[in-house]
Amino acid sequence: MADALIIGEITDGAPASATLEGIAAARRMGAGQVAVLLPGADAASAASAAIAGGADIVYTIVDGPAADGEFDALVDAAQAAVTLSGARYVIGAKTLTGRDVMPRLAFRLGTALASDCSVVSLDDSGRLIATRPVYGGNAEASVACLGSVAVASLRPKSVDALEPDTSRIGEVSPLAFEANVRTRVLERVEEAGEGVRLENARVVVSGGRGLGGPEPFDSLRELANMLGGAVGASRAACDAGWVPSGYQVGLTGKTVTPDLYIAVGISGASQHMAGCSNSRTLVAINKDAGANIFKEARFGVAGDWQKVLPAFMEQLHELMG
């Protein structure tokens, strides 16, 4: 039995960072005993990292369609884990998998999902309070979850994981459940970009509508290379076909939290800011001095990027020797 259940994921043989963040969120809000569902071939070995990260119980699934990441089976597994754990709080993450699995799980449990939360807490009567951006980030809503089970998904990177404590002891048990798969994956095509992954980059250089075409992204790539970073884009630049959709930073794209985010020719619509506003230092270069991005940036240059950027890079080159 547990008070909270984290719907976890495994990446590269270990609990995903979003999963460790979910465990930390449950512990910090004082949920009590925390169970984690870990589906994946490496679940048995990943379980100890989950326990070190704050879990008391780990339910593992090491083979079958749920371990392979089939959404239908993952919903079935999550539902079985909720029943088995008796958890009152169910927390997932707004990852590729969580986006599908968490709402479906919530509806099966007779409730709905508090999705994309930046903060979760408990009020005096033990209700889960979830805070999340709405209206494309133009407003922020806090909701109290009603009913016997609360289901929430956390926006990745919005809370810190706990320091791993390898002395913690927990229980690991395989989860038995019935999977009913109807939507099947026929083919998966990876379009891996070159260089640093956008989500992990310490420096991100992003371009938007103001660049006017695909060619200027070469300059952005050059700058990103100088700084060991990655190139991102606003949705407008992706929709225009200037860069692949995998470059998109924003509400419906990737969430990045680099040390330095340089936005070039991006107006700073809330939709975009939702994906980069947690960057440590945000720098904006935009022709329009009234652009919203200048309300969110730490440093701004209101000017023509075609003149600002080459001089910036030249000076940078000099500084970096």
């Binding site: 986006r99 479906r104 919530a106 508090a114 209206y135 909701v143 939507t183 440093f299 240059v301 000076q315």
Partner: protein, 264 residues
């Protein structure tokens, strides 16, 4: 047999509304002045996906379902002007636009059951107001249908639907048996503009209106949330604008300033 596609379309505040005209007060969001509402952008892409299937399939009917309290008819008729065949409005004070998707899921599910012969539901991946991204998944769960999300290409053949899904670093093709629910994303492409003939035809169509009394809403789940607060997010950033003799000079100074602050 006629392939019956339902598209769900929500009327929302125009998300392109400038931030300054965007008001948050008394736990509600509104826009200043007379900025008209729009059909949720991703839902227009859902209409586009349905029309492409109709063109490829030949014998198909596209019914648009919209749930709300009040409709601007010239706005919500846009899918008809684009080429959809029928419009059913689920209109009732009970269908208030709420952060809690429970009632919208129940109403859409009941309407799809009432239509009876639906093969495929296509929805936008999320609506630009609450950004919940869960009503289509809730409808699929309530109906017990298969589901595939965030499609950029949707094809129907031999009782199945094939969806090319957008992934963070690539794409995948999934297949599900009909009936099914599919959501689409902006990667599907720009929705077609209504032509004059479509606009004229849409004007003549009288939408069907169903209220709570027309729908079987027995067994609807109780509300999932209570809205505690709604506010504009606080922005704590102090912006420092870097200026110079000209744009190039400002660029150089930006690099020096970032070095000074040890950002670089």
């Amino acid at each position: 047999m006629t392939l019956h596609i339902v598209v769900t379309a929500k009327q929302v505040l125009d998300p392109e509304t400038p931030l300054s005209a965007f008001n948050v007060a008394d736990n509600a969001v509104s826009t200043a002045g007379n900025i008209p509402p729009v059909v949720n952008g991703y839902d227009e892409q859902a209409v586009e996906a349905a029309l492409r299937i109709k063109e490829a399939h030949g014998d198909a009917k596209v019914t648009v379902l919209s749930c709300g309290t009040d409709f601007a008819l010239d706005v919500i008729k846009k899918p008809l002007a684009m080429g959809a065949d029928e419009l059913v409005l689920l209109q009732d004070a009970a269908f208030e636009n709420s952060i809690d998707p429970t009632m919208a899921v129940a109403a859409l599910t009941a309407a799809i059951r009432k239509l009876g012969d639906v093969d495929l539901v296509i929805s936008g991946r999320q609506a630009s107001d609450w950004d919940n991204a869960q009503v289509p998944l809730g409808v699929a769960e309530s109906l017990g249908w298969a589901v595939a999300t965030i499609g950029r290409k949707v094809d129907v053949q031999d009782g199945t639907v094939r969806v090319e899904r957008v992934l963070p670093d690539g794409h995948e093709t999934v297949e599900a048996p009909l009936p099914a629910v599919v959501t689409v994303s902006n990667e599907l492409g720009t929705p077609r503009y209504p032509n004059m003939r479509g606009i004229m035809a849409a004007r003549r169509v009288q939408p069907t209106v169903w209220t709570v009394a027309d729908l079987d809403l027995d067994g609807t789940a109780s509300p999932a949330f209570e809205l505690v607060s709604l506010k504009k997010p606080e922005r704590a950033v102090q912006t420092e604008m870097i200026t110079g003799d000209d744009d190039a000079d400002a660029g150089r100074k930006l690099a020096l300033r970032l070095r000074e602050e040890r950002v670089l």
